[in-house]
């Protein structure tokens, strides 16, 4: 059996364009051998699961290097460059260091929750990867309600963060988890509403369906929904705890936030899971807004899953870029940002999309007219709202005189006479 599997793989090694061919081969093989029907699901499911878990694991290892190296270059330094070529073995050294460390737990911590939290934090990322389409037929679990599943599973991570912070019995950790809950409550709303715009346009919650919609109408969703992309990107970086919204683990304020008390491989899991979550969110953005595995004509030459990984890393680079660039908001500013700007804008976007979809359905005009019109309308709206927001923000500071005053002479108050009798008084003219 194993030999037969190996021959299938070796015989079809060239057909990497769509790895789902493999499961068809397995299906055929099991059918030929009169195997039970459930075996097909088990084997192909296992293969997919192994693929996804190994991708996640590889990503967690590679991204330690990617993040440190890219940010290093942005900060005018070299980044890791000692271990292996280009410092590529740095993650290995990091992992060895973390594993050697003693795993400490505060005596007053609640042990079960404290231990479960890092695991809980890692799981949602892996769960999410299962429903994302990697190619035309490459989805491990094709759900009709894929977007709903995404939203449900991605907010699990915040729960894990809360568990970690609450069980640590540490004030910094408690502050971190309080902030996480405050952010969860605020940022889930714009996330959901902005994704609703995408769902409404595509007419399906199936992620593969959304990719196929983009392929059918020859337009990335980011062109149709720029404002939703903008809102989703900002909200999700708040949910991911990345700057400018890393207030849950704000290093300069509350030390490490929720993972202050974690050490050793428990901390390592948090660290890896943060990178995993960033990649998973990049994958979601690639699927929903950037066409997933489809890229105009390119996907006929290059395997879809390679395009997909390329897009994931493109979006991930954006996350690293913002992290290396922006300072942090204060929590009240961040929440005000969510409630006063993101949520209303997301609702406005949703209303506009609803109207557009209605017009499209009712009028019966061809997509060739409607899609460019929507691109123009929504693009204008996005630019206008972002500009309006900048203008709204600016007057807040107008009451402060911004420029400095310059003095070349200063008035010195009369000083008592010095020991030698000469008085050092009057204006010093320089």
């Amino acid at each position: 059996m194993i030999m037969a599997l190996l021959t299938i793989i070796t015989d079809n090694w060239w057909d990497i364009r769509d790895l789902s061919n493999l499961s068809h081969e397995i299906e055929k093989l099991i059918g030929d051998a009169n195997g039970p029907a459930w075996l097909i699901y088990v084997v192909s499911g296992l293969l997919g699961a192994i693929g996804i878990v190994s991708f996640i694991g590889g990503v967690a290892v590679i991204n330690i290097w990617v993040e440190r190296r890219v940010v290093g270059r942005m900060q005018s330094r070299l980044g890791p460059n000692r271990l292996g070529p280009f410092g590529l073995l740095q993650p290995v050294a990091d992992a060895i260091k973390l594993m050697q460390k003693e795993v400490l737990m505060p005596g007053t911590a609640s042990g079960l929750i404290f231990t479960a939290a890092p695991i809980m934090f890692t799981v949602p990322g892996i769960l999410l990867m299962a429903v994302l389409p990697w190619g035309r037929n490459m989805t491990l679990a094709s759900l009709d309600v894929g977007v709903l599943f995404l939203l449900a599973a991605s907010s699990l991570a915040a729960l894990a963060v809360f568990m970690a912070g609450y069980s640590s019995d540490n004030k910094y950790a408690l502050f971190g988890s309080m902030r996480v809950i405050a952010m969860l409550v605020s940022y889930e709303i714009p996330i959901v509403i902005s994704l609703l715009g995408v769902v409404l346009f595509a007419g399906t919650m199936d992620l593969q369906g959304i990719v196929l919609f983009q392929e059918k109408y020859w337009a990335f969703m980011i062109l149709l929904q720029p404002l939703a992309f903008f809102i989703y990107f900002i909200s999700v970086s708040a949910e991911l705890n990345r700057t400018p919204a890393d207030i849950a683990e704000a290093e300069s304020e509350i030390v490490g936030g929720y993972h202050t008390e974690y050490s050793g491989m428990k901390f390592g899991l948090f660290y890896a899971a943060e990178l995993i979550n960033a990649v998973v969110v990049s994958a979601i953005i690639s699927t929903l807004f950037l066409g997933g595995w489809w890229a105009y004509k390119l996907d006929e030459i290059v395997p879809g899953w390679m395009i997909y990984i390329g897009k994931i890393y493109g979006v991930y680079f954006l996350f690293v870029w913002t992290r290396g660039t922006l300072p942090r908001f204060r929590i009240d500013q961040l929440l005000a940002f969510a409630w006063k700007w993101m949520t209303p804008m997301a609702i406005l976007n949703l209303i506009l999309v609803a109207a557009e979809v209605l017009v499209w359905d009712e009028s019966g005009w061809s997509a060739g007219v409607m899609i460019p019109a929507f691109v123009v309308i929504n693009g204008t709206l996005a630019i206008a709202t972002v500009y309006a927001f900048m203008r709204l923000l600016a007057p807040k500071f107008e009451r402060f005189p911004t420029a400095l005053r310059f003095y070349s002479n200063i008035d010195v108050p009369s000083l008592p006479a010095t020991a030698d009798g000469a008085a050092r008084a009057g204006t010093q003219t320089v």
Binding site: V71, M74, Q75, S76, R77, K171, Y172, F175, T243, P244, D246, I247, A250, E251, S252, E253, I254, V255, R323, G324, T325, L326, P327, R328, F329, R330, I331, D332, Q333, M390, L393, K396, F397, F400, P401, T402, L404, R405, F406, Y407, S408, N409, I410, D411, V412, R424, Q428, V430
Partner: protein
């Protein structure tokens, strides 16, 4: 049922990623808001003022390096000035110009560090610190070229400076001051001034009113941000500052953002001073002959310099012996910190960190 709540006591420092050094701030926090702050200093107390009474006047110069280790040159200078005043020593012109050049270079180095660390306290992920360090390193290269040390320079001597500048110093300084740093400071301004997030974080945060500033005898950028034009270099010129043309930037609002602007502007003014000093630099000896074990006549002297943190004063009392009878340092870090409670109570934790960062304390100098 009413919810019972009570403030939580949180230690910010002595081991905390954003306390500068080992300063400890015990904050009582109600939710995110600070209701009370207790400052605990002394973790880096090295008893320098007492130790100095056992060492000769010359041997005390290295202590001044280790006080404000980010601005060792101005520390050296302030101490040497006080001893020279006490002993009535004339300093050669060239040494005075070199002192001005090096203390202004030191101001640039220290303000670079302060600006970078301040933006880091605002929550940026190390990037501004790295940018500022890059430029600070270039200044420290010049120090290394001249006296062999980068951080604790121990360069000034009683009666002059330890070494004359090497031949390659002036071309290197010219490159740095005219080609390199002006563009860097412009870059800082482009990145930081008017940045919405920094405005949101630093505007109206940690406000010092003029009354507060005068009552607490604040100096340096803290005082100037409050709108009071005062600079020891203008008010009580030492060395050859009275021959230099430069402006004192003064803020309107007294907030953390103004202090950042003032630091960036002061770096530019320092470049101006250095250009003039290099232009006027005379030939001549770099040091007068002063015995190593100098015995100033009995008496007392106070001299002050404008260190990057504020007015750094040295009070030296001599009983005619080889060691000071009493040595007291007026450390701007300590005095500027005294308003921290007034500034932070009522703020959130995040603002308190920004406020602390904008004061620009140096714990080496604070605890001495």
């Amino acid at each position: 049922m009413p919810i019972k709540s009570e403030p939580v006591e949180v230690n910010i420092g002595p081991q905390h990623p954003s306390t500068h050094g080992v300063f400890r701030m015990v904050a009582r926090i109600d939710g995110e808001r600070i209701v009370d702050v207790k400052m605990v200093v002394g973790y880096l107390h090295r008893s320098m003022e007492k130790l100095a009474e056992e060492r000769t006047f010359t041997q005390n110069i290295p202590f001044t390096d280790r006080m404000d280790y980010l601005a060792a040159m101005t520390g050296n200078l302030g101490y040497c000035l006080s001893v020279e005043k006490l002993a009535g020593i004339e300093v050669p012109e060239r040494a005075q110009y070199l002192r001005v050049i090096f203390s202004e270079l030191q101001r640039i180095a220290s303000h670079c560090m302060a600006t970078g660390a301040f933006i880091n306290d605002c929550g940026a992920w190390q990037t501004p610190v790295m940018y500022c360090f890059r430029d600070r390193e270039k200044v420290l290269d010049l120090f290394e070229m001249t006296c062999g040390a980068r951080l604790t320079t121990n360069y000034m001597r009683i009666g002059g400076v330890a070494f004359d500048i090497p031949d390659e110093f002036l071309p290197a300084l010219d490159r740095l001051v005219n080609d390199d740093l002006p563009y860097r400071f412009e870059e800082y301004e482009q990145l930081l001034v008017g940045n919405e997030i920094i405005m949101m974080r630093a505007r109206d945060v940690g406000v010092v009113t003029p009354e507060m500033a005068i009552n607490a005898s604040l100096t340096g950028p803290m005082l100037r941000s409050a709108g009071i034009a005062w600079d020891t270099r203008k008010a009580d010129p030492y060395c050859v500052y009275d021959r230099m043309t430069f402006d004192i930037p003064v803020g309107y609002n007294g907030d953390a953002y103004d202090r950042m602007l003032i630091r960036i502007e002061e770096m530019k003014q320092s470049l101006r001073i250095i250009r003039q000093a290099v232009h006027q630099l005379p030939d001549g000896p770099h040091k007068t002959d002063v015995p190593l074990a100098i015995r100033p006549p009995a008496g007392e002297a106070y001299s002050r310099v404008e260190s990057p943190k504020g007015e750094l004063g040295f009070y030296v009392v001599s009983d005619g012996g080889p060691a000071p009878y009493r040595w007291h340092v007026r450390a701007p870090s300590l005095i500027n910190l005294s308003v921290l409670k007034e500034m932070t109570v009522g703020q959130t934790i995040a603002d308190a960190i920004v406020t602390l960062g904008s004061i620009d304390i140096n714990v080496g100098e604070l605890d001495r």
